[in-house]
């Protein structure tokens, strides 16, 4: 059941996407009981996920697309090849 910090933090990352298995979570929990460094990582990782969620909602505010000029240029180049 013993895992390294590298493995523990990998499980922690996976769990941010709810894709860690039951056994992985169990191994992570046991590791976190004895490892302060990974405990801190785990806590901060959750906060980073919250930051990303916030970033995502900001992104959706301005949806990206090509401007008319760029599309006209594209159209023009395509026509020369048709």
């Amino acid at each position: 059941m013993k895992i390294t910090c590298n493995q523990a933090t990998t499980i922690c990352d996976k769990s941010q996407y709810k894709e860690a298995t039951f056994w992985e979570i169990l191994k992570l929990r046991i590791h976190l009981l004895v490892c302060r460094k990974c405990g801190l990582y785990s806590k901060q990782n959750g906060l980073i996920t919250k930051c990303i969620d916030k970033y995502k909602t900001n992104l959706n505010k301005h949806s990206k697309c090509l401007c008319d000029k760029e599309k006209a240029q594209m159209e023009h180049e395509l026509k020369t090849k048709i």
Binding site: N6, T9, T10, I48, N58
Partner: protein
């Protein structure tokens, strides 16, 4: 009843599909010019391959398939590019300390880790910079998984990587991201 057969109409491609294809590409590479070029390349490749179109799929589906191919070519290219912005190692790779934190990468306590901070608009800018600082391959996989929220299985199929490979990339991206946010935001 005969099955519907789809037709190609290149005259209308830009009008009908450019924005859709562009959005598809930008979600994966997050670079305006590059995404635009990939869309243009997709149209050119589509023209060349028109004879192979059997009309089974819609025009858009067919174009997206070509764009996907362009994206995997791009992924291959950045994956093989050497020496550029290598991802930082966070753990010892071998020896008796294998899997342990490398000292300077150990997380340290943050000064202002409050819920309130997350509401700050500038935090999003800091995060964007940190993502952009990742090696391209890591940024691309990270964005697909985290921002676009594409299923693991689909990313693996699209980029032709294994799921364990994907998690290694996500793990390295996130540990590097954590460090970057620590240095640029939470420690200030």
């Amino acid at each position: 009843m005969p099955k519907e057969t789809h037709l190609l109409n290149p005259d209308k491609w830009v009008k009908l599909h450019a924005d859709y294809l562009y959005n598809y590409a930008i979600g994966r590479i997050n670079n305006h010019d590059l995404a635009k070029d990939l869309v243009q390349d997709t149209f050119f490749a589509g023209l060349k391959a028109m004879d192979n179109f059997q009309g089974l799929a819609s025009e858009r589906t067919w174009l997206v398939a070509i764009l996907k191919r362009k994206i995997i070519d791009y992924y291959r290219k950045i994956n093989s590019a050497k020496g550029k912005a290598e991802v930082k190692m966070n753990f010892y790779d071998d020896g008796e300390r294998e899997g342990d934190w490398i000292e300077e990468r150990i997380p340290s306590s943050w000064n202002n880790e409050t819920e309130k901070d997350i509401e700050n608009e500038e935090l999003s800018d800091a995060l964007e910079k940190c993502i952009a600082n990742l090696p391209e391959k890591y940024a691309m996989v990270f964005r697909m998984k985290t921002i676009q929220q594409i299923e693991t299985e689909d990313i693996c199929k699209e980029l032709e990587i294994s799921s364990s490979n994907l998690w290694v990339i996500i793990h390295r991206a996130r540990t590097q991201l954590r460090k970057c946010m620590e240095d640029n935001w939470f420690k200030n």
